[in-house]
Amino acid sequence: MKQVKLDGLYKTYDGTTPVLSNVNATIEAGEFFVLVGPSGCGKSTLLRMIAGLEETNGGAITIGNKRADQLMPSERDLSMVFQNYALYPHLTVFDNIVFGLHVKKVPKEERKRRGRETAEMLGLTDYLKRKPRQLSGGQRQRVALARAIVDESPVCLMDEPLSNLDAKLRAHMRAEIKQIQRRLGLTIIYVTHDQVEAMTMGDRIMVLNKGVTQQIGTPLEIYNQPANPFVATFIGSPPMNIAEGEIKDHKLFIEGLGPIPLPNGGAIDQTHVYAGIRPEAVRFVHDPVREKGSGLIEVKNVEVLGNETVLMFTAAGRDWYARWSGQWPVKPGDRIPVMIDYADVALFDKASEKSIKHGQSPDVAAEISREEVLL
């Protein structure tokens, strides 16, 4: 319910190496904003700077309309969920949940009511008298969530809150957190290294690498129009295939694949590029002779997932993936004809790594308008 504005944030721990440099973002009120990036890229540091647990060495943080970077954590009016939950082991679940209300001297009756309401929302009613150690990982996680939202702070920060849960529970909690956020209209800044969480939960995503912002956008923008090869390979599973390519004679050459012809009028200035192709854009061809841009690949590994099949092969000295829907009777060692449509190819300048051209949205669904779906 409050906007959070980051302006040219800079952070260094040792005075010389920057951990974060020039981070800019405006997180809208009520937005679910996900900070994603590989481990060690500075996500936690950034979140802790917003919380006031880490000092900022440059730039400004504004929460609501108030300059916040010099305020104490308690004055920033936010709540936080920690990766290890940070529950008080000596307090009961109920006392853990209402800890913040107790600090703020909320009257006992109101404390009780709000504690119970929040516990009910998270399905903790039966566990209120237990100590944290008597709970499962998932239940502890809920207590941590309850403690954060019972305060009714307008901004909630979460640092990898689901990373200690098993895959199934994680998927469940993703949906649950998202629902609570919508219901309460919270502004959430959510840190994760898991691109699936980022894609499924975020209204907008900020991709961070080595302390530098790579891209900010909605999940589909990030997926369809990655700003550079890092974002392209970080988001999506299996990752986007990336290889060095050369543009000659109106064709894109990638080692290990047939030349991919450029369409008429689609000339590119650069010669040396990185070409990125989503696994689903590597398509099987029935007639390799007639189809342009086709080539033979040798399958190195096959994963049949029931509804889709993922093949691994080598091109331009790297592992590439192809993902086809359905169950394909393919075995390692098979040589299979595939083709790549130039329209699906994303191109990045080799020197600057900046995007030259996006691949077209791979799934038809993205092309259908909302109105059509709702009919």
Partner: protein
């Protein structure tokens, strides 16, 4: 721990155990193996703890000769005697007073030092070292240092008092001051150990608990009361128990500072036992006193576990 399944496996599968019965009772070999491991401490405990303990109880029923050999069986007379002896009752009172002064004051001082030394400040390592450094000093050395400090005319304490224009204090010669002086010395000597243990306990507390409390608006004292002290309770329980036992067993500093005087005001029970046995050669009554001391420590420790432990939050 690991040896149990290993032995079983080799017993069943490789068959390197010749005796058939070994296979049927694989535990038996483990048992003797365990006993073998226990043997050294068992021997040491027997020689230095169990034998002297039973010998003491035995001796407390006898009158003894100068060599400490039992000569006349007197039953409970030794006990009857010491409980009517003014000297022993005075010693018991002095000991209880001494425990009541040194244990709470020592633990609170160590807690205070640990709390300030746990703050993340530049150069705090220096203070941590200083606060725990007296751990490395022997009782004798520390007592001699304090002997100098307490010296009536040359001691630093009295010099300070006179510089401030205050009247001087007979630290070790006045019966009221003497027990306080010995207590101060003891507190100073024990602080290092208690400090180090409590500091360790503090550092074991998850930093995130404080961070969350800070975000939720809890101030220092609130955090101390609702997080630090409850989380520290197992450590405090340990330190209080150990300090209690230590205080009851105080000997060295009494011997060096006051020899139990003046007017027996610092004649703590272990010193009293020592005098009874090795100055008066009354090994029987000395043993009876030792048994009483053992009983006292046992009761206090049991009470401490029974009532103190309820307030402890183990994680």
């Amino acid at each position: 721990m690991n040896s149990a399944p290993l032995t079983k496996e080799s017993g069943y599968e490789v068959g390197d155990l010749p005796e058939h019965s070994e296979k049927a009772f694989p535990l038996r070999k483990d048992f003797w193996q365990a006993m073998l491991y226990l043997l050294p401490s068992f021997v040491l405990f027997s020689v230095f703890v169990f034998y002297p303990m039973f010998r003491t109880i035995y001796l407390s029923f006898f009158l003894t000769d100068y060599d400490g050999m039992p000569s006349v069986f007197v039953g409970l007379e030794n006990y009857a005697y010491i409980f009517t002896s003014d000297e022993f009752l005075k010693s018991l009172r002095a000991t209880i007073l001494f425990v009541l002064i040194t244990v709470p004051a020592g633990v609170i001082l160590a807690l205070f030092l640990a709390l300030i030394a746990n703050e993340k400040l530049k150069g705090i390592g220096f203070f941590r070292t200083i606060f725990s450094s007296n751990m490395g000093m022997s009782v004798a050395a520390s007592s001699v240092i304090w002997l100098f400090l307490f010296h009536p005319s040359l001691g630093a304490l009295n010099q300070m008092l006179s510089t401030l224009g205050l009247s001087q204090v007979e630290w070790l010669l006045d019966p009221t001051w003497a027990i306080i002086s010995v207590s101060v010395t003891t507190i100073w000597m024990n602080t290092g150990f208690a400090f180090l243990i409590i500091l360790g306990g503090l550092q074991n507390i998850d930093e995130h608990l404080y961070e969350n409390a800070g975000i939720q608006g809890a101030g220092y004292w609130y955090q101390l009361r609702r997080i630090t002290l409850p989380m520290l309770s197992p450590t405090m329980f340990f330190i209080v128990t150990v300090s209690l036992i230590n205080a009851f067993q105080t000997f060295g500093q009494v011997d060096i500072l006051t020899q139990g005087g003046p007017a027996e005001s610092t004649n703590l029970i272990v010193y009293s036992i020592y005098r009874e046995a090795f100055v008066n050669y009354q090994f029987g009554t000395a043993s009876a006193q030792a048994v009483i001391l053992f009983g006292c420590i046992l009761i206090v420790t049991i009470l401490q576990f029974k009532f103190g432990e309820k307030k402890v939050h183990y994680q």
